[in-house]
Symmetry: C3
Subunit: 309 residues, 3 copies
């Protein structure tokens, strides 16, 4: 039995195959409308996240399956003092596969050790969110034709943004050799991750302070939300947030086939007038997230394109 706790649980071939299956599901959804008939997904959100929950629920329904679950931990037996191990052991009798979001790092990993059914990590604290990474990868594949070999810039909060850490590491695994990092001093990529990227994968990291410095060269601009809470004082935040905001003007010199990605929700780091630009594909990215989750559920349940024998 397989689980997905972090992107490293999948090798590069498996990721490529997931991405291709996901794209085929996107293009031919009717072919997959019954592959999970009779199966149940338990969608356990110990911490709320409507978007991720909806994406998984929608994925399971589009495969013909059903969903049980909760959107916050208020009503669970955890409140009666039950251990996560016990909760998960019983869950395997109610459902055939579990997606779990938890505020504590490592909770899905722990759960996977006791579970009789596959566990998908739907986000554990600031740690991992592997299905976001898969969503990013299917988007890159669909819009740029391949996963590796692009000039990618990451912009915004590179310190706390787990989606950035995960994606940059996975792109490095795929052989990407150069990344542009655009962030305020306070929110730079952690040193440990930089070291890992340079030493293990031989990556070159180019740090700049303004989107304008790199906009002409890049193929992919990955934007993230800068949260006010990350700054010591509001003045710093207010001063900085506009430098890292993408506007129509800043986008102008970019290549015509460059793409702008964002894991959403977006607050004000991308101007609303950017939405109409064909290079802005963050909403389509969200859509592809449903299909890569359909592929993943099928893989872990060994149904449809992943049926055995």
């Amino acid at each position: 039995m397989r689980h997905l706790i972090e992107p490293e649980d999948l090798d590069l071939e498996e990721i490529k195959q997931l991405v291709n299956v996901g794209i085929d599901m996107f293009e031919n959804p009717k072919d997959y409308a019954k592959v999970c008939e009779g199966k149940i997904l338990a969608s356990l959100f110990f911490e709320p996240s409507t978007r991720t929950k909806f994406s998984f629920d929608s994925a399971m329904y589009r495969l013909g399956g059903n969903v049980i679950g909760f959107s916050d931990a208020e009503t669970t037996s955890a409140k009666k003092g039950e251990s996560l191990a016990d909760t998960i052991r019983v869950m395997g009798y109610y459902a055939d596969i579990v997606v779990m979001r938890h505020p504590k790092e490592g909770a899905p990993k722990l759960a996977s050790q006791y579970s009789s059914v596959p566990i998908i990590n739907g986000g554990d604290g600031g740690h991992q969110h592997p299905t976001q990474t898969l969503t990013d990868l299917i988007t890159i594949q669909k819009y740029k034709g391949r996963i590796d070999g692009h000039n990618v810039a990451f912009c915004g909060d590179l310190k706390y943004g787990r989606t950035v850490h995960s994606l940059i590491r996975t792109l490095a695994r795929f052989g990407s050799k150069k990344f542009y990092l655009v962030s305020p001093e306070e929110l730079q990529l952690p040193d440990s991750l930089k070291r890992q990227l340079i030493e293990r994968y031989g990556v070159e990291l180019v740090e700049v302070h303004f989107i304008e410095e790199v906009i002409e060269e890049i193929d992919i601009l990955y934007m993230t939300r800068i949260q006010k809470e990350r700054f010591f004082n509001e003045a710093d935040y207010l001063k900085l947030k506009d430098s890292f905001k993408l506007t129509r003007d800043k986008l102008k010199p970019a290549k015509p086939d460059m793409i702008v990605m964002h894991p959403l929700p977006r607050v004000n780091e991308i101007g609303y007038d950017v939405d109409e630009d064909p290079r802005a594909i963050y909403f389509e990215q969200s859509q592809l997230g449903v299909y890569i989750r359909m592929a993943l559920i099928s893989k872990l349940l060994e149904v449809g394109p992943y049926a055995r024998g």
Copy 2:
């Protein structure tokens, strides 16, 4: 693509057809058990309303579809500062149709401008609740054989009751020429609505203070809840509430085929001993609400009786 934000979004022919389709769905539910197979309804209740939510969820399941959603806004990305426009844009990837209840007037209208799938207004503040109006109309059609041409009395809170405003305006559109209004001074129909009814539709409004004054003449008695919060002091409320309460005694002189309607929940404005009277059809009204919603969902999704071509 069509939305339903207010009853005026539908012309009279469309309403008549919806009502007829709804009645056929009520009488032959099995014929419609799969018309929404593979479709997903997002039921977004930014404000709780179990009854309306259940009615929509049940409607979608009885059409063979599935439902994702939430019952209050506590767990949504709105809390992270996301705009309603962004929330709705993404929702179109998770679902094929959206019903939305929102405390802010106009929110569903705004949503419809950004949505890639049909939006149904499930109630926006004190403003509109068009599927309640459709529920009222299907009930009148089923129990009285036609929508217009009845003597209708509205009783209770005519000032704040959005269901009353909507229904009276729609009946006027259908050609009804006379309405009886039974309410305390404090809770009379707003002047602007009275003017509109008189000037635009040539309606005659008869205002009385007691149900007893009109009970013998009317074909339909539409009751509403009088809420304590509407009065300046509790004494006024206590003094008045009984005058506007329907009892078995007051109902006695009514025509044998008169019907008593109520949008529910009922608190104490209709005595429990009225429930057994065959003229009391407010529970059946609630039931018909499921079938008119089934008709509406089919229309907006263009499936089943509304399939194109």
Copy 3:
């Protein structure tokens, strides 16, 4: 139309049949995957209980049906002052069967008097929880080959534990003649229940203070949670809790085919090292709970093995 409010609503033959149908559903789930197609379960949890809710939801989905519902009463019309009778009357239009958990004793009974569809009591205060009893019975049948004729010990909180009261009474109805009771003075079986068991069923009750005194003789050990809140002071609780905790050592002298049951959630009344012992079947018990609920839903809806004519 039938309801299940307390185990006594079913005669012994009906219980035996339910247990057998449940076991067949466990062994041949595919044969039952569509018996509730087109049916809707309303799962109304006026008090949270994730485990019971998931068990019912999973049961309904495994029968091919759908589920509407809520996990706490915060969002219901009850808050607007609606009576339970009205809530339930309307529910019959949204769903084909209702499971209801309520903090007030007697609420499901009251609901059944107004409902147009079958009501299942999913637990009402400290009163009844009949599907837990059915879960216990199917487990005993499956693991011990028959329901009656075993030496059963109940351990822990025998005063407030409604699952114990229900099971012991039902086993007495089935003809069991002797029970071992292991509990602190403060948490003994209520006198009224003891009298009933002795006088009506001729049962012999053996009260002891330590598991060790009975462990060699018994066929079934039914453990329950001892809650801190039941004691006047924490010192008493701390002193006692370990005496009533099942450990690997205490289990050693038990018969090799003895079984340890627990309604779950377990907190610390069973050591985690007991889990690996083949006699520990409390997780399997939880699993069987899904199948007995599938049997019950089928019976009350008169579908599948319970279809008429």
